[in-house]
Structures are given as C-alpha cells and as structure tokens.
C-alpha cells in the first residue's frame, strides 16, 4: 500500500526583504513528504533549513510557489486558519526547548490539550501517556529550570506529541545536548515515529541526527542539492 502524501511543495521560493534589496533564502524547492516519514533537512548554516521548516509549519508563508500541508495551501490560510492547523496537526520541537518556565512539566505537556479544549478526564491520561513515552513520569511536578537539557528536550517532545499530531517539526533538537542525551531523544522520536506513524521532519547538521534519518534532503544555498532515501519506512 502506497503511503499518502501529507506535504507537497512545488516551486517554492522565499525571499526576505533586506534593506532596499531582497534576499532569496529558498529557490525553487519542490518536495513531497508521505505519512510516517522520518526525514531531515540537512545543510550548512544559512542554507534555508529553518526557513523551509517554518513555512511547512505555517509560521511563515512562501513568496512564490505552493506549499500544501495536510491539504491546506500555506500561503492562502488566514492567520486564524494557520493557527488552527498548528494547533490540531503540528507539533514543534525547538533547539532551545521553548518550555514555559513557570509551568510544571505536567502543565507544559498539558498546554496543547488545553488549546484543543480536551476535557480534563481524557487530558490527564494523555499527558501521562506522553510523559511515559519520554520516560519522565517521575518529573511531573518539576519546573523546567530544575531539569537537565536532555530532560527539557524530552518534555518538549512530549508536548509536541501529546496531541498525536500528524506532523512533528524539529529544528536542531539536539544542538544543546550531549551525545548520550541526543541518542536518547532520537531513539524516543524514532520509536514514536514507528508506533504512532507520526511524520517527523528535522532541520539539522548534526551527524547523530543524520544517522537516524530515513531520508536525507540536502539543502545548499536555498536549493535541494540531494534527496536520499536510506531506508523505506514502509513495513
């Protein structure tokens, strides 16, 4: 059975205004992602990885071309529709975790469910499940400043995964972590990708991350330089 496409990008161009001029960050990108991929955008600094990830995540819009994410054309969404797409279908993981510092681990993970108005009975189980996936059920009451970097990133993964989104976007998730912690969270994400069929797209230049990827998309100067499928994730 062929996996269905959840992202389809065609002839996408992104320019940023730079004083009087414009800077072209993405030039003519065409890519398709299917459900359940574990893919990475790889490239040197400034190659456009974050820019592309932001557009896929509806935080930014294409200048030209089209980006269809879960059937919605990113450039044509109202801010409200874009927010709804992120709220319902997309989980973000950031390099610097971006946890809410004054909230406990539990509250951080609960947050996306509150946005979705999930009734409290179901919410508790979902939060505990997500914390179970990342192995942090004993840190429920802690606050982010009391956790190590690896633990913070695991909370961030739990927060991204708790609503079981179709798509998780992770921008340099291991950049602030040591090797052990990096492997730990990558294994966690790999397992979740396998078990929940969640599509993961990374932006990275970390070899540890790259070694886990099933698909490597090399970006160079805003162009797709190479697109390698390492292992089929069809089973």
């Amino acid at each position: 059975m062929e996996n269905k496409s959840i992202i389809s990008i065609s002839r996408l161009i992104k320019r940023f205004p730079m004083g009087k001029d414009e800077f072209t960050a993405l030039r003519d990108i065409s890519l398709t992602f299917t459900e359940g991929e574990f893919a990475g955008l790889i490239g040197p600094s400034g190659s456009g990885k974050t820019t592309l990830l932001n557009i896929i995540g509806s935080l930014d819009v294409p200048t030209e071309g089209e980006a269809l994410v879960l059937g919605r054309s990113i450039g044509k969404l109202t801010t409200r529709e874009a927010a709804r797409l992120r709220k319902e279908n997309i989980g973000f993981i950031f390099q610097s975790y971006n946890l809410l510092a004054v909230h406990t681990v539990y509250e951080n993970v609960e947050f996306p469910l509150l946005l979705l108005n999930i009734p409290s009975a179901g919410r508790h189980k979902m939060v505990m499940d997500a914390l179970e996936w990342v192995g942090l059920t004993d840190k429920v009451r802690s606050k982010p400043p009391q956790l190590s970097g690896g633990q913070c990133q695991r909370v961030a993964i739990a927060r991204a995964m708790v609503k079981k989104p179709s798509l998780v976007l992770a921008d340099e998730p291991t950049a602030n972590l040591d090797a052990d912690n990096s492997h730990h969270i990558l294994q966690t994400m790999e397992t979740l990708n396998r078990e929940l069929k969640t599509t993961f797209i990374f932006a990275t230049h970390d070899d540890k991350v790259i070694s886990y990827l099933h698909r490597k998309i090399f970006l160079l100067d805003g162009r797709v330089d190479k697109d390698e499928i390492i292992r089929s994730n069809k089973r």
Partner: protein
C-alpha cells in the same frame, strides 16, 4: 478565555516578586482611594448632621432683610413672628432667634460680636441654652469653644457687652459666661454670644420679634410667608456639598498620582515582559495561538494585577477600613482653626457603590494600560519572536 485566565494566573504567580510589588502598589491605591472617599463622605454626613443639630434644624425662615454675610442688615432684619408660627413656637417645634450686633470688651480689648437671643428651653439645637435661665447678677451667656479661645473668656468670667437698641441708642451691661459649648460648626461659634431671647428682645426694645425662625422637622411641607424667606435644609446644607466637592477635587490629584504610579509600574512590567518573553510569545503561536490571542493573554495577565490587588487590598484593607469607620480618624491638627465645619475626629462612611466603582475604575485602567503595550505583539513576526530576535 478561561484558559487565558489560567495561564495569566500561572505566569503572574511564576513571575514572583515583580508581580507582588505591582500588586501591593495597586492594592494601596484601592485602600487609600476608598478610605479617602470614605472620609469625605463621612465628613459630609458629619457636617450636615452637625449643622442640623447646632444651626439649622429642619430648615429656617429668614427675615427678608437678613443676610448672614452682611452684619449691617441686622438693624433692619427683625419682625414680629407671623401669627401662623405661634402654635408651633408654643409647642417647641419652632424656635425664633433674634440677632444683633454688639461689642464685648474682654481684657479691655474691643471685639465685635453677634448676639443671638435664644429660648433657654429650646430643644431643637444641642446648644446648652438652659443655663441662660440662671438667676445671676449679670446676664447669663454661653459661647462656643472657638469664641472662648479668641476672646480668652472662661466660664465664670464677666465681660461688658455694648449694643444699640432699636432706636439707635447705645447701652452697655455685664454678661456672665455660664457655659462653653463644643460644636464643629464655625458659623454658630466664632464671634457669637448667646443670651436668653426675652432678655435680648427687652434690651433691643423689640418685644416678640425675631430674625430667623428654625423649625425642627424637615418633613412638614412649608409655605412662604409674607416678609419671611423659607430656607430648606437642602438649600442651607448645599454649601457643605460644595465645600466637600472642592476638597474632593484636590484629593482627586492624590488618587491620580497614586494610580499613575501603579499604572507606570504595570506598564513598565508589560513592556519589559513583552520584550523579554518574545520566545515564549513565539512558542504560544507555534502551539496554535493567534497573535490576537497572545495579545489577549498578555492583557489579561496585566489586568489580573488588579484582581490580585483587590484580594490583597481586601486582606489588609477591610480590617483597616472597618477599624477606621469605628474608631474614626482623628486629625493631627486642631480643626477648630480650619474655619469650616469639620470635627476633630471623622468617621469614614463607605458605600458598596464606592467600593465597586473604585474596583471597576482601577481594573479598567489597569486593563487599558496592560493592553497598550501588548498591541505590539500583534505586529510581531512569529518566526522572529521564536528566535527571540531583539526589536
């Protein structure tokens, strides 16, 4: 919206000391504004009650020529009582007072005074007039404490009183100070000397005449009578309202400054937190908030200072305000020198409306002040915010 309150609450509590500093400053505004306004209301009540009890009763008829601000009118402003007053006068429900000018000579100085003839058996005023009936070698008189102070007269002192009778002839006699009363109504104290009405009528050669007639109850409908002008209690106390209004205007500046301080603190906190929390703002947006919702969240967060402040204010303000209402606020200076109707101790009076309107004004102001800087979020680029790029 419920979520915004929950989040705002967590963020505020999480912010710790800064939140509490703002909350304490704000709660201070609540308590001080309510207290000051309560004192003003209390003063208004007290001044009107005192005026009623000491000066105007339920209202007065003034002889048409009488002008309390022009003592020269006194030679003209007296007339026999109209016949329709007589039954009430006999029943003690109306009290005529004859007023004239005179001079006293305490310690050899000359002092202009207003002499008031009043019925010693009257019960409309709290004036201790019964002593005016005493049989003494000189005419018994009472004065107020302010007058006692300026004239340096004490109970038991004799002083010469000089006056002009209705024919314009000067005459003089000794009066004996038989009592000194304490009233916080300057109009009936400063420069006033009270003697028995019949005595003054006799001295003035004006038997049965009066200058003003005070009635006890303000509830009985009153008609104008030829030669006499009806002054209702409302008219006579209007000047109190005006005085309180003037004083309140001065106080508004104080509230303004207090509120301004609190609002500056909140504004500053908002500007700072929007600046420092860009990443958090970006995170909210990435998690599915619209920028408008984040603006809402930050506004709620700011305005929640007012809600917390209301609770904090209630915690220490309620006992304080209640204690003040009971114990009263004693002014640190001698109020008899203020020249206005103010008691040494004022009892603040608070109304529910006062509390509600104060809370509402402070909350609305706080919300506006919180909203203004938050609008900036609506113009933020979410990707810039996520990077925490300084703007």
């Amino acid at each position: 919206m419920k979520l915004a309150f929950k989040l705002a609450y967590r963020n505020l509590i999480g912010a710790g000391l800064r939140t509490w500093l703002n909350v304490i400053v704000l709660s201070f505004s609540f308590v001080v504004i309510i207290w000051l306004k309560g004192v003003m209301t209390g003063w208004d009540h007290q001044a009107k009650t005192d005026m009623t009890n000491w000066e105007i009763g339920g209202g007065q008829y003034w002889h048409e020529a009488y002008d309390p601000y022009d003592p020269f009118t006194l030679t003209e402003s007296h007339a026999p009582l109209p016949a329709e007053f007589l039954p009430e006068v006999a029943a003690g429900e109306m009290e005529p007072v004859l007023i004239t000018q005179g001079s006293i000579f305490p310690e050899g100085r000359m002092m202009q005074v207003i002499v008031r003839g009043i019925n010693p058996e009257q019960t409309i005023f709290q004036l201790p007039t019964s002593v005016l009936d005493s049989a003494t070698d000189a005419i018994p008189a009472i004065i107020g404490s302010m007058m006692a102070k300026t004239s340096r007269l004490k109970t038991g002192d004799y002083v010469t009183l000089r006056w002009r009778d209705a024919n314009g002839t000067f005459d003089a006699t000794d009066i004996l100070i038989c009592g000194i009363f304490n009233a916080s109504v300057p109009a009936i104290d400063a420069g006033q000397v009270y003697i028995a009405l019949d005595k003054l009528q006799e001295m003035m050669l004006l038997p049965g005449e009066a200058t003003i007639v005070t009635f006890r109850s303000s509830n009985v409908p009153r008609q104008e009578t030829a030669g006499w002008v009806l002054k209702t209690r409302e008219e006579l106390t209007r000047q109190v309202d005006e005085m309180i209004k003037t004083k309140s205007a001065g106080q508004s500046i104080l509230y303004g400054i207090l509120l301004l301080l609190a609002m500056l603190a909140i504004f500053d906190t908002q500007v700072l937190s929007i600046f420092r929390r860009q990443k958090e703002i970006g995170t909210y947006i990435a998690l599915g908030y619209t920028r408008q919702q984040v603006v809402g969240l930050f506004t709620v967060e700011g305005s929640m200072h007012a809600v917390l402040a209301a609770f904090v204010a209630a915690a220490y303000g309620l006992p304080f305000l209640a204690w003040q209402a009971k114990a009263g606020w004693t002014m640190p200076v001698d109020t008899s020198e203020f020249g206005m109707a103010i008691a040494q101790t004022l009892y603040p009076v608070y109304s529910l409306g006062l509390v509600i309107s104060t809370v509402a004004i402070v909350t609305v102001t706080t919300t506006i002040v919180s909203y203004l800087p938050s609008r900036k979020i609506a113009r933020m680029n979410p990707t810039d915010a996520l990077r925490g790029k300084l703007q």
